[in-house]
Symmetry: C2
Subunit: 467 residues, 2 copies
């Protein structure tokens, strides 16, 4: 029908004219333009733009496109040249304990119970107070930002202080207050835990960067009744609900004995599972259990390096992805990894499952990158806000330099992001449009002071453990 | 016996006096002193010196000790301050194909035969000539040096050019000329291969940095007769003998059909195995086969990331170590890894076998570091020359900065070297006493030119593959 085509051409011409008129009348304003980069959007169509960028206003992405168009359309307060770099969404670290960065490498290569009882628990009992948590969080946040992580999920004690340090650093966080059935460094009773967690949720409700969450530690350390109370609290404040789940085979066996159910089935029976739950590890899950998690919209934080180092097992991630579960990547704490480097997790997840299934085609490069960005956002239930470079989303982005010898030549950008790029290639990091790392320099944190603090704690902790 | 103690004291005083006299009479000369570092010697006693260093003369280590003693004893042409750094032996990359760095990420996540037949072989047939090999070697050597690798084992074509580029860059290499039973980019017939390889061995014999070696590709690509010829050639020139061995389960099954023996038993029957052999991968080996390899003093190049990414399998490394085999670490080529980063292999080897055996105590941090240094040297049969900081050895050393946020605090130096340090932490690299990377700047190679060359090849190769 030629008349219809003609009508369409007419319409497009009118739009083109309108665009020209807008240009003549003056450009749109933007706070920040990034141009000249290879843009990996991680949007639904996985669009890659060879010479492109984004425009940012009020901390949000208002345009994604090629460089010439963006420069034509916007007058920006600041323009970042992305030459030689990949522009992509900031990474999402779906599971960690930032304050434990002060315990980095405190003890390795131990059986889990030896490690916990003879190293971590004594050190925690003696040292973990609010000041420790603040110092550890600053160190962890600094490491994560420098390596391109813009959002992280935390679970530890004194999380109001964690939220405060995270917000001050300009990082985004899903900050989980640990809830556990024995006296903790912050709260000595369940009632105090519950009251403290509620005050924490109330205080941070509506904050742009901080999503406060109750974080009952695990099904084996929190009673059924208390798990339900935590769930109710999350519901009351429309908060996420964070829990360790099915990390070790022992946990599954013990759960079967205690509850006549695996941890996943136990949580399902309690009505704990729902579309706000973030389940950490989930190493041991049957197909049936994965379907339960899928049905409830539970997000999964897969921690390949932690699971390897602690010999927990290899999670059935390719199967989870096949079933459509939202699976993100997490570093776990630096006491059991021993870094907070998401690039290591991306490479590991892409390689580990190939050898485990003896199939070199599973978890391809692009899929691994997705798990650290858009799928990670989905796993932590923030996919409406972050995880891709799309109009309307928060301007959480990174520029990754791809000019060093170890990342040339480049045939495929996803291949490099999955298998060759290092944390040290990250040159610029922005959260909600604010540059928190500018040409490799942190703008909100003082590395010299943070490193010195960490060493002071190390000296004191080492003295204690030598006794 | 007090008189004996008294005699000893007298003797020590006399030695002390002698030392003082020597000082008065003038210090010993050294070309280079490194002081103020945490020294990880990797010597037999695994000594660690908190504030120490080494003295170097004529490219060899002439003293290892604490900083004050060294400064007292030596007048040096140059002194390097190792403050905030770990001083340790340069890393040994026991298996790679440096020139293939130009194929980095050319194709990933493919089944092996698809990858080889549709990507690597066509690209090799079209592009691999001496100029390509030189450009690729420069890029690979640059990446390795910047990341702290001082010795690598290579296997590819045009290895005289590889040796030349490696020597010019001031790197140490065991340079293996590929020998294969079909027309290769350099030699079209077996006779030409044999003659060319002999000329290559003769030319480089006695070179301080280059150890030339015949490298028959694998038992499935080289006939029994030709394997024996390669062995004789190695014997004639007292050269190492490099071969891929038992990398995939298919290789083992095919070998059983063709030779009624596994690849290892096949080589044993041929009399191929000996204390100069470096066997790459050895993913599939029974206890009995490991004992055969042990009996002959064969060195093993374990490539954990390549074996994971290509889904080859998980080599029985903890068992090899228990049996006393010399096992080093290799990156394999950048076409199948996709980097030449030994720190990634160290971390991976420490984690992979833990989860595989479900035992968090196997391959502890120090053992993983040993596999990249002294055990690596043993695997490539250079343990008398390199792999540890000991008097009389070649001064192949690196300074690794441990002040960045991702490596603080430090409780245990081996833990950090295994689990937290990145290639980007390497600040100084010396081979035979010569600084080839000085405060992160390469002194022998031009990164701008090398990166530009790599991109030119990429553009041409991409055009070919698009056809």
């Amino acid at each position: 029908m030629p008349w219809l085509a003609s009508f369409h051409r007419g319409l497009f011409s009118a739009i083109g004219l309108l665009a020209m008129v807008t240009n003549v009348m003056g450009k749109d304003s933007a706070d920040l333009l990034v141009v000249g980069a290879t843009v990996v959007t991680m949007g639904a169509d996985r669009q890659v733009i060879d010479d492109g960028g984004i425009a940012v206003r009020d901390g949000k992405i208002i345009a994604v496109g090629n460089s010439a168009e963006l420069k034509d359309k916007f007058d920006a307060t600041r323009t970042l040249q992305g030459d030689g770099a990949v522009l992509m969404p900031g990474l999402v670290n779906a599971h960690g304990h930032a304050a434990m960065t002060l315990f980095r490498g405190l003890a390795d290569d131990k059986a889990l119970m030896d490690w916990l009882r003879n190293y971590i628990f004594p050190a925690e009992a003696k040292f973990v107070d609010e000041a420790f948590v603040r110092a550890g969080t600053r160190l962890g946040v600094l490491e994560m930002l420098l390596g391109g992580t813009t959002t992280y999920v935390d679970m530890y004690y004194f999380e109001d202080a964690v939220a405060d340090e995270t917000a001050k650093a300009g990082m985004r966080g899903v900050i989980g207050q640990a809830m556990i059935d024995f006296p903790a460094p912050d709260y000595k009773t369940w009632d105090a835990t519950l009251a403290g967690t509620e005050a924490f949720l109330k205080k941070w409700k509506g904050h742009r960067l901080i999503t406060a969450a109750p974080a009952p530690h695990a099904p084996y350390t929190v009673s059924s009744e208390h798990l339900q109370a935590a769930k109710e609290l999350a519901a009351k404040y429309s908060a996420p609900l964070i829990i360790h789940l099915a990390e070790t085979q022992d946990e599954v066996e013990n759960s079967k004995k205690q509850f006549q159910a695996t941890p996943t089935v136990h949580l399902d029976r309690l009505g704990f599972l729902g579309p706000n739950v973030i389940a950490k590890h989930v190493v041991w899950a049957t197909d049936e259990e994965m379907l339960i998690l899928k049905k409830h919209g539970v997000g999964i934080a897969h921690c390949p390096q932690s699971n390897m180092k602690l010999a927990s097992g290899i999670a059935p991630v390719p199967q989870m992805l096949k079933l459509g579960l939202g699976v993100g990547l997490g570093t776990d704490g630096a006491a059991s990894n021993n870094d907070l480097d998401m690039w290591g997790e991306i490479g590991t997840v892409a390689m580990l499952h190939k050898v485990n299934l003896r199939d070199p085609t599973v978890i391809a490069a692009r899929e691994a990158v997705a798990m650290a960005t858009i799928d990670g956002a989905r796993a932590v239930h923030l996919e409406d806000k972050i995880g891709s470079l799309e109009i309307g989303k928060e301007a959480d982005f990174i520029l990754v330099d791809v000019t060093a010898p170890h990342v040339v030549p480049m045939y495929d950008v996803y291949s490099h992001l999955a298998y060759a790029v290092k944390a040290s290639d990250v040159r610029t990091v922005a959260v909600a449009g604010k540059l928190v790392v500018d040409d490799r320099k942190p703008t909100t944190l003082d590395p010299v002071k943070i490193v010195a603090e960490a060493r002071e704690y190390r000296d004191r902790i080492r003295t204690l453990l030598a006794k």
